[in-house]
């Protein structure tokens, strides 16, 4: 690329440069050629960019923007659906948990009630038997207590007969028993 510009040797161009003096840029005999050519190139490039390159790139970039925004929208939607389903599942779970708790509580209550009833029934039976037994004991004791005075009279009569040699009358025995 640089080949065409480097065919001059330094020696000759140095001589030229020093001979003319000043900046080479101010040698206006080359201006018109450069300016005209640059204008042509500039307008060529301008039309190429305006009509070909910029629309192509803008199309791709718009397409990309649409793709990205579409994907984001889809993702948002899917996320919303997932959240909704999660909420539903959560609700189901809560309901099931509440049901289970209620069932457990009901079963516990029923079992407790049955146990209480059975206990009460057995207690009644046992109490009845205790009462019966107590009644029998009282009756036996009363009978025994009834016999005690007879035994005391007999024992007193026998003691009196042995001591005095003669039997005491029943009235005397009763009197004596009452005095003790």
């Amino acid at each position: 690329m640089a080949a065409p510009t480097s065919h001059d040797t330094h020696a000759t161009t140095e001589a030229q440069g020093h001979g003319e003096g000043g900046l080479p840029q101010f040698q206006t005999q080359h201006w018109a050629g450069q300016m005209g050519y640059l204008l042509v190139l500039f307008f060529l490039l301008y039309f190429l960019i305006a009509k070909v390159f910029a629309p192509r790139l803008r199309r791709v970039m718009d397409e990309r923007r649409e793709t990205i925004s579409g994907a984001v929208a889809t993702a948002r939607q899917v996320q919303a659906e997932a959240a909704e389903q999660a909420a539903l599942a959560q609700a189901d779970l809560a309901k099931a948990r509440a049901d289970a708790r209620a069932t457990a509580a009901a079963a516990k209550a029923r079992v407790t009630e049955e146990a209480n009833a059975r206990q009460a029934a057995e207690e009644a039976v046992v109490n009845a038997r205790i009462a019966e037994a107590e009644a029998a004991i009282a009756k036996t004791r009363d009978a025994a207590m009834g016999n005690v005075s007879t035994i005391a009279s007999d024992a007193a009569g026998a003691m009196v007969e042995r001591l005095t040699g003669q039997a005491a009358t029943k009235a005397e025995l009763d009197l004596a028993k009452g005095a003790v």
């Binding site: 640089a2 080479p24 206006t28 500039f42 490039l45």
Partner: protein, 262 residues
């Protein structure tokens, strides 16, 4: 030492003879090294854009990403500075930017820098300012002159501020052309001078002339400068193209949105 200005010399390669043109006076018509550099820049830009856009995909490759980032950068400039109408002026600013950028960059590789020619930078500046004036009159008619009548300034000061505005408008093409020209000229002259030191002092050390062996450290220092300046010149090459594009957008914005943002 080699003449640092030699690199800017126009060398006719194919001569078509001389003519007298109305404005330019004595003119030599020829295909010169400047024409070659401009053509190489133009062909490189078109090839690059063709490669970038011919098989442009939604998921871009490396080359397409590079092209799109340049495109996006200038699109962002025109869009943010000119606003809604920015897209209409994008091809102009993008052409300007690419031509200046590639001519600057080719100057780092070829022996000739087209943008260090005053004729080239004047052409870019004239194109820009003529477009600004044209758009100004087409869009606003004679309202274009409101550009020099600052409504926000106090009435007493308006003629003065207006005169300053007018003067600054006249200077715009001059500064546009001279900024780019000066940067390219200065950078390449500095590069050439330091590179010349390296060779001259190095050779002097070997044949025992000039500074002799003392020339070696200075040659080494100059070499360091050449490397650093080369890096700097790459930065300047890009920066000046970008500055040109931004300024063109700002000047266009002045007339496109005349009386809106002032």
């Amino acid at each position: 030492m080699a003449d640092p200005l030699h690199q800017f010399k126009i060398q006719p390669l194919v001569d078509f003879g001389a003519v007298n043109l109305p404005v330019f006076g004595h003119t030599q018509l020829a295909i010169t090294n400047s024409h070659v550099a401009m053509t190489v820049a133009f062909v490189a830009i078109v090839l690059f854009l063709q490669l970038v856009t011919s098989s442009a995909k939604v998921v871009p490759g490396r080359l397409q990403t590079a092209g799109e980032s340049l495109f996006d950068m200038i699109d962002g400039v025109t869009d943010s500075i000119i606003g809604h109408d920015g897209r209409k002026y994008f091809p102009f600013v993008f052409s300007l930017f690419l031509l200046v950028l590639v001519m600057n960059l080719l100057g780092m590789f070829l022996s000739f820098t087209a943008t260090s020619q005053l004729a080239v930078t004047v052409t870019f500046a004239a194109l820009t300012i003529l477009l600004v004036i044209g758009v100004g009159f087409l869009k606003n008619g004679l309202g274009f002159f409101k550009l020099f009548w600052p409504a926000s300034a106090p009435l007493v000061l308006r003629p003065v501020v207006g005169a300053i505005e007018f003067l600054s408008f006249l200077l715009r093409p001059v500064t546009l052309a001279l900024r780019l020209f000066g940067n390219m000229l200065g950078g390449h002259v500095a590069l050439k001078i330091f590179a010349g030191f390296v060779v001259a002092l190095g050779a002097g050390a070997f044949v025992g002339e000039g500074l002799g062996l003392w020339g070696l450290p200075i040659a080494a220092l100059s070499m360091t400068m050449v490397v650093a300046l080369t890096a700097l010149e790459f930065l300047v090459a890009f920066l000046q193209a970008f500055v040109f594009a931004v300024l063109a957008s700002i000047y266009l914005n002045d007339v496109v949105n005349l009386g809106e943002g002032h």
